[in-house]
């Protein structure tokens, strides 16, 4: 029997929400790792029982947890994230050089084929890989310019207000050598050779907070999404602007269209309709909450530009939460389910592609991430 497992990372632990394919009755388990910040959990596409979790603390640092039984039991694995060679410097907020310092893992992306291989996007921005189920980690250092022929300009990268985090990792299902990542506030990057060499893919992005708004790097990319059937088509929620690329990031064009505000964090793509997108517009970079206190998801069925508000079942007034970059996900059941979590501790779900919504749980700690496993 089909079902879904929603993996929720919060400021104070992890929670797992499970339901059958109807998605109307939910069981809540957790908190796992109570009291710790869980930036992200994600299951292996190759083995749904294998789940990785990033457990962090301002006091105790980084822990990586692994489950081999679908989240019922967990064990800590390797947590040594050492930059390759001399870490070097990036720009600090005041423009001075600042040494690279590992702080935490923002995002874990398991391999599409091998449950023992998993990528980690970290702060200060770098990409790590484990090929032994999380026991040991090695930096893919070409991203920061350690590889021959790279031009990623890493010493010029600068942190966004939330830290210089590598928060998005997209694996091309048709080409194991191609991968996309995104960093706040450096921008998006692509490798076509398995990580040896990387190129910035920010042409077309315009960021007016930069001295040169169209510079090669420096853009505050919030999230990037891809439909697995069309890995050359990318959708981006930038600090401001919703963007689209049809050429694997070589160029971007704005598709914000009629959105009431194009600031936001989360963006995702319908599981079966590659031109159907979801964003959650946020008022501004100064006011991180929905417009007019109304929490609304916006859907485009045309790959951007034309957007419709989805409000059925969502708060219509007095709602001042945020939806963070990794806090939206979709399932792959026939009628695609959409899920997102808020900084107010609600996780909302829709079992009809966004036409109607209902809270699965209302009172969790602030939600940092939401991922979904479709169980068949």
């Amino acid at each position: 029997m089909s079902g879904v497992r929603v993996l929720v990372g919060t400021r104070k632990g992890a929670f797992i929400l499970t339901s059958d394919g109807k998605r109307s009755n939910w069981q809540i388990s957790g908190p796992f790792f109570a009291g710790w910040e869980i930036y992200h959990l994600k299951g292996s596409p190759a083995d749904p029982n294998r789940i990785y979790a990033s457990q962090t603390s301002g006091w105790f640092g980084q822990v990586i947890q692994r489950s081999d039984d679908g989240g019922q039991t967990w064990a800590p694995v390797g947590n040594k994230f050492a930059y390759d060679g001399t870490p070097g410097t990036h720009q600090w907020y005041d423009g001075t050089p600042h040494p690279w310092e590992f702080k935490r893992v923002w995002h874990l992306e398991p391999s599409l084929a091998d449950p023992d291989t998993v990528y980690a996007g970290v702060e200060d921005a770098a990409l790590f890989r484990s090929s032994d189920a999380g026991a040991t980690w090695a930096e893919i250092s070409g991203l920061r310019g350690h590889g021959a022929g790279t031009d990623t300009l890493a010493p010029q990268w600068q942190p966004g207000a939330g830290g210089m985090c590598l928060h998005t990792i997209l694996l091309d299902p048709t080409n194991p050598a191609r991968m996309y990542i995104a960093i706040s506030a450096a921008g998006a990057f692509r490798t076509d050779d398995g990580g040896c060499n990387w190129m910035p893919i920010n042409k077309g992005l315009v960021s007016n907070f930069m001295p040169n708004p169209t510079a090669v790097v420096g853009h505050c990319v919030h999230h990037v999404a891809m439909h697995p059937s069309r890995p050359d088509v990318l959708f981006m929620q930038k600090h401001w602007d919703v963007m689209r690329s049809d050429d694997a990031g070589d160029s971007w064009r704005e598709v914000s269209g009629n959105l009431p505000t194009d600031f936001g964090f989360a963006i995702d793509v319908h599981a079966h309709e590659p031109e159907t997108l979801y964003v959650v517009p946020i008022k501004s970079d100064s006011e991180h909450f929905p417009l007019d206190g109304k929490l609304r998801v916006y859907r485009s069925r045309s790959g951007g530009n034309e957007w419709e508000p989805l409000a059925n079942g969502l708060p219509e007034k007095d709602c001042y939460v945020n939806v963070l970059r990794d806090a939206m996900a979709v399932d792959t059941l026939d009628d695609c389910g959409i899920y997102f979590g808020t900084t107010g501790g609600q996780v909302y779900g829709s079992a009809d592609s966004g036409d109607s919504w209902a809270p699965i749980v209302r009172d969790l700690p602030a939600v940092l991430s939401v991922e979904v496993q479709t169980l068949k």
Partner: protein
């Protein structure tokens, strides 16, 4: 200060979140080779409980994490050399070594 015996049984009190991570009770007892210092105690602690590596001190530099403190015999040893010998009351097991998290946060 330090004991002349080749190894000591040292009591260590861990903060709550490290107890849950390591699956221990509030206090662990470790066999620590002489000369007994904070570094030797942490080496023994991390050897017995590998999941604690990186949670008290950096795995590469071995520098103490900034929001943690090390207390013993009503003294804050956090800023002493980690190689400094610990008091006899620690090496004898009479008093525990306390690893404490800063009281902060929400």
């Amino acid at each position: 200060m330090s004991t002349d015996s080749p190894a000591s049984m040292v009591r260590v009190i861990l903060p709550y979140h490290l107890r849950t991570l390591s699956g221990t009770g509030p206090e662990v007892t470790l066999e620590v080779a002489a000369p007994v210092s904070v570094r030797q105690v942490l080496d023994a602690l991390e050897s017995r409980y590998p999941m604690l590596r990186g949670t008290i001190r950096d795995q590469v530099t071995l520098v103490r994490r900034p929001f943690l403190r090390v207390f013993a015999c009503e003294q804050d040893l956090s800023h002493d050399s980690p190689e400094a010998p610990l008091p006899d009351s620690i090496t004898s097991g009479k008093e525990p070594l306390l690893i404490l998290g800063a009281i902060a946060g929400g």
